[in-house]
Symmetry: C2
């Protein structure tokens, strides 16, 4: 059984050592405002629990040299980042540094049993490398709505076979550790909060543009999930009543205008209509066009591809402009596969948001591309479960 801190002081010390790395007792005492003797009691208890260890002496600050304290180097958190078409498994130490990370294509629509077995297989590879003496907790992200409390997906549209599948319970039994399950966009936002551009930002939005479009919302340094866990599900916000028909049955939803799927659809239409010889050649040779192909065509200067990305950015911007006025965040991060479309997309999003949002809300608002690329999800998964393990039960 994973040890947990026994009071708020211990929890605070663990999170501090996780986020700031090894610290001297003197430095820790300054931050947590405990007397030297009380601090020693709490640290001794954390050492007994196997969560913390002492590691030599710090340089003198004038008096006696203070002992260095760090998280146990045997601590391990595991993260599963399950996407629509891929699966990432990683293991981190207590400071959430990624020690091993494997990724492979995997269709989430193959169902919970198949996909989770694959995740456990991938974890086995990391185990075989000797990276995982013990698992202290596992954080899991899935590409759909999740009942966070119950640890299971609820009516997820692109995950047949997953509805109310007890993911937390199944993986918890398998690995014998605490497990939390959340939406993939939420764990990406946690990754950005821990190791990305949002490290010092309390209130921000992470917009993931991939197969679909979703948004992770952080308020006061914590994920905001809403009353039924669906907060940030922005893919079906209306851009225009007269827009394309959406899979949800409405017309003109953001995802119907722009997402990996919509981009592939529109690029195929451009190719068939003879408006892009490059895309037409791709369609001819591969039989299909993906969002990645459009990105490559745009990078090579194909005007039709650039126009599609610009139009997509404009529609994302129209929705984000309203959300920025409403939420007044300190940062907007654009991430996900389609964000690989890069600066053309970003420029268009920025242009619309800066023009259409309230000036007060955009005065100091950076809108940036994620710099964590493929690791935001797994770092966020580890952060999610470490927040739980490093809290009082």
């Amino acid at each position: 059984m994973t040890a947990r801190p026994q009071n708020v002081h211990q929890a605070r010390l663990l999170r501090l050592l996780r986020d700031e790395g090894p610290r001297s007792r003197a430095e820790l005492g300054d931050v947590v405002r405990l007397s030297r003797s009380k601090l020693a009691v709490e640290l001794d208890r954390l050492v007994e629990l196997g969560l913390v260890e002492t590691a030599g002496l710090a340089a003198s600050r004038g008096g006696r040299r203070s002992g260095i304290v760090r998280l146990s180097p045997r601590l391990r958190f595991v993260a599963f980042d399950i996407g629509a078409t891929s699966i990432d498994v990683a293991v981190t130490n207590g400071e959430l540094e990624v020690l091993g990370h494997v990724s492979e294509p995997c269709a989430v629509r193959e169902g919970a049993t198949v996909v989770l077995d694959r995740a456990l297989d991938l974890l086995g590879k990391l185990r075989d490398q000797g990276l995982i003496p013990q698992v202290h907790g596992t954080g899991i992200g899935v590409p759909g709505p999740v009942s966070f409390r119950d640890g299971m997906p609820v009516a997820p549209p692109i995950m047949p076979g997953w509805d109310r599948f007890p993911v937390r319970e199944a993986i918890g039994q398998e690995l014998g550790c605490p497990v939390l399950v959340d939406n993939d966009v939420n764990i990406m936002a946690l990754g950005e909060l821990h190791a990305g551009l949002a490290r010092s930002v309390d209130d921000f939005m992470l917009v993931k543009i991939g197969t679909g479009v979703g948004c992770g919302i952080v308020v006061g340094g914590a994920i905001y999930r809403g009353v039924s866990g669906s907060a940030g599900d922005i893919g079906h916000i209306r851009v225009d009543d007269d827009g394309p028909l959406c899979a949800c049955g409405n017309t003109g939803c953001l995802e119907a205008y722009f997402s990996g799927a919509a981009l592939a659809r529109d690029a195929t239409a451009e190719a068939r209509a003879g408006r892009s010889p490059r895309l037409a050649a791709l369609l001819e040779s591969a039989g299909e066009i993906t969002a990645r192909d459009v990105a490559e065509a745009a990078a090579a200067g194909d005007p039709a591809a650039v126009a599609l990305i610009r139009a997509g950015g404009r529609h994302v911007g129209q929705v984000l402009a309203g959300l920025v006025s409403f939420f007044n965040p300190g940062l907007v991060i654009i991430a996900g596969g389609v964000a690989g479309l890069g600066h053309t997309l970003l420029a268009e999003i920025r242009s619309v948001v800066y023009r259409r949002s309230l000036p007060l809300a955009t005065g100091n608002l950076p809108i940036v591309l994620s710099e964590l690329a493929g690791t935001a999800g797994v770092i966020g998964g580890a952060r999610l479960i470490s927040d739980h393990v490093f809290a009082t039960a």
Copy 2:
């Protein structure tokens, strides 16, 4: 100087007595989880500070009868709710019950000095009635963006002469008590949280449709203001690029489609175009048509007026649908002068939100009209300042 609690236990006791009314020592001990002797120490100190008093004995719960404790009946909070065209001043006791409330028309555009003098005059009337032995704190709402930290409006569009006027400082000096200043929609949301339909709801939105359109956002039982204090400023969210020109310079903003001002504009156009004999007669006799006139015409069955209100509700609903998908609140309250348009408006808003928001987000989502009518703002103003006074300094 207003006394403040000296520790978190005292603060918790004060808020409990404010929200739940008089309680026996035994009941208080159960809630705050203090030993009988520690509770006695904290209560004694609150009595010394003049914030609390004892009031007889409770019925026996089996053993010795426990003493009843209540907030001092001499506690008074003052609230100024300054709207675009009206001013409300009220005084409450410590439990935030309104003891006196005066309201009169007043144009905020007359500037800070004129309007605040008027507010102080109105307060004088309440004082003359003997209602205010002492003021322990004042909460002020104004119809524009506010720097909450600085206690002043910042670049408020409809408040000429108020930009960076030190409202908190001016009123604090005048009344010799703590003062907080916030946006009028935020204090209405606090009023609903304290005494309205949101009493047991942690995360909700209050949408005020008056001269303009704004939204108060409550997250985890507290106002969410955003990083620059403009959160909830939804009046300029885009409904449609091809819509009417807005005062902000963009086209198709929500307020350009629907607000008290837009409704008066559209009703005047209907009257002039001969599409509503009733509105035409009103225009003829009064020289102008107000939103209230439209409400009355609709109530009397005027088809043009009903159509205007329906169209307005549809546009509000289109914006709210997106915000509900994003924020996933537990409740949406519609309030403000135009909300007096009542159930026709509400039905249209509901219809669009329930159709266009994510089903998960609307499954258990009530969308309701405020039941506090004109008192949400002043109760919220009192709540705002009492949260401050009943907290450790």
